[in-house]
Subunit: 145 residues, 2 copies
DNA sequence: TTATATGCAAATCTTTTGCAAGGAT
DNA sequence: ATCCTTGCAAAAGATTTGCATATAA
């Protein structure tokens, strides 16, 4: 079967099916949009992006799908009081750097997280499964002022 | 002047005035409620708590005040897609542990954060000012199941 | 005194839900 | 042929806003 599917799209489809979910065209399109609709896009931004390919896709489907992606580890939600929820396609351990002035969001790796887990588990009694690390500050452009 | 103010309340009042804000009874009551209305209370929970002392205090004031506290470093906001914003009176470097099963939130210290700052700043070009670290997993009660 | 903060109620926005129709497996 | 998903539109919530009144400094 030769379609216009990229390797990554097939991979996403397989991952969904493995977990018992259907690989619908909407879900695959949303997955692609998540990666291409800019940095840490909002639900509305992702919706706008996928509508270019599929003008009938509903906002509710985008909401539901992103929540699903968050649960099965295909995306990570980022939520602030004063803005709509954003989603991040990067799911491995990383730091979200957030500029307090211009709102820019940047990812940097955080390989040390693995090493912290045993200590966190020992001290708290929790079993650790994932993490979100936001660091607030001023980006190179804004710190100059 | 002898009132029923605790040392911490006076301290909060001074901190507000230092920053050019008024130390209103509502703000002081909200500050106290933030510490006593349970672990990581929601805005509504804080509102319920302060209403015991001041039944006329408005929800909008609680919202405004908590946002102010977040800005001046008296509290830290914690926001999830599927729940109302919570506030944490602990502002020094710590980890929020979140149980994926029962929703429990617990704090543990994270003294190592200071040591990470130079590396984060070097790699990103940002100037770091604060941080939020959420770790997801299962609490002692829930992991047993 | 006077600029700031409060309370109220309405408005705004985000997110969720119920249900009939559609479609992946 | 099933039963999971979708789209639509309405509902539910959370949060913000405008403005007159009150009040801390």
């Amino acid at each position: 079967m030769v379609l216009d599917m990229t390797e990554s799209t097939e991979c996403t489809a397989d991952l969904l099916r493995e977990r018992g979910f259907r690989a619908t065209p909407q879900r695959l399109a949303i997955c692609e949009a998540l990666k291409k609709a800019g940095s840490h896009p909002t639900v509305a931004e992702i919706h706008e992006y996928v509508k270019k390919k599929d003008p009938t896709i509903s906002l509710a489907t985008v909401y539901n799908t992103l929540e699903l992606f968050n649960q099965i580890g295909l995306a990570r939600e980022i939520c602030f009081r004063d803005q709509p929820t954003r989603y991040d396609p990067t799911v491995d351990s990383h730091i979200n750097l957030l500029c307090l002035n211009c709102g820019a969001v940047e990812d940097i790796s955080f390989d040390d997280f693995e090493q912290l887990i045993p200590d966190i588990e020992n001290r708290s009694g929790f079993v650790v499964s994932s993490q979100r690390f936001d660091v607030y500050g001023y980006c190179p452009k804004c710190k100059a002022k």
